[in-house]
Amino acid sequence: MSGQMTTARSRRIDVRVTDEQDALIREAAAAAGQTVTAFLLSAGEARARTILDERRHLIMSDRAFAALAETLDAPAQPVPTMRELFALPALPSE
């Protein structure tokens, strides 16, 4: 993503857990063959990416981007196959 973001692990997140949570997480991490840190990071990171949906932002080469940007200025054209889509019965909203 951003070029300025560092890959060194210089930040801490402190989390307090109950005995039960501690035992549960340690057991699951061992079962997964991971350290507790790696286990928590992979689980948290996966959930964070899903929630924030980082796939929202697309990147392409300069050349492809320039070609796409150029098509934006072309006059609007109706899309024949999309007419059929809008001809389907509308879903009423309340």
Binding site: I51, T81, L91
Partner: protein, 167 residues
């Protein structure tokens, strides 16, 4: 066939039994859709049969940008990210498939995308197809593959608006 209506997702809706045949799309609806809604990260619309979800579509915003850092641009090259409305997920429960509910959900999502861009400009609708069948579904309705981004398709919002205005 019971009549369907489209509403914004809320806590009253029965989500747990939803099965579109894809575990990722099922899981997102059950585990994340409401949280994303509350955090204003995605707006999810559900097609309801009574209180049961027959299908859903979630919309959010996104962008397309070139990979190079701005200082590398030659003069005159486009550099601003293109704002997009993203159809991030669309799914229909197995019991409601083959009845064109997917197409109807897509049509409603596109109508809302056009309205959204009337208020806060976006240039493209981008769809995130979960697999090759989904990509074929979007192509069938006139979507075009995004270069260099597999299973992402797009259409200019101006084209969609024109299609709506000239049926």
């Amino acid at each position: 066939m019971s009549s369907l209506r489209l509403v914004v997702l809320s806590v009253e809706h029965e989500l747990t039994g939803f099965d579109c045949g894809n575990t990722e799309l099922n899981g997102w609806l059950v585990d994340h859709a409401l949280a994303s809604q509350k955090a204003d990260l995605a707006r999810t619309y559900v097609a309801l049969s009574d209180t049961v979800v027959a299908g859903y579509v979630s919309l959010t915003t996104g962008s397309i940008r070139p990979e190079a850092a701005p200082r590398r641009y030659a003069r005159g090259m486009p550099r601003h990210p293109i704002p997009t409305i993203l159809i991030a997920r669309l799914a229909v429960d197995l019991r409601h498939q083959r009845q064109q509910l997917g197409g109807r959900l897509l049509a409603e999502a596109l109508r809302r995308a056009v309205l959204a861009s009337d208020t806060a400009a976006a240039r493209l609708v981008v769809v995130d197809a979960i697999d090759d069948d989904a990509a074929a579904f979007y192509r069938r309705w006139g979507f075009i593959d995004v270069p260099e981004n597999p299973r992402r398709l797009f259409r200019k919002i101006s084209d969609i608006r024109r299609t709506l205005e000239q049926p």
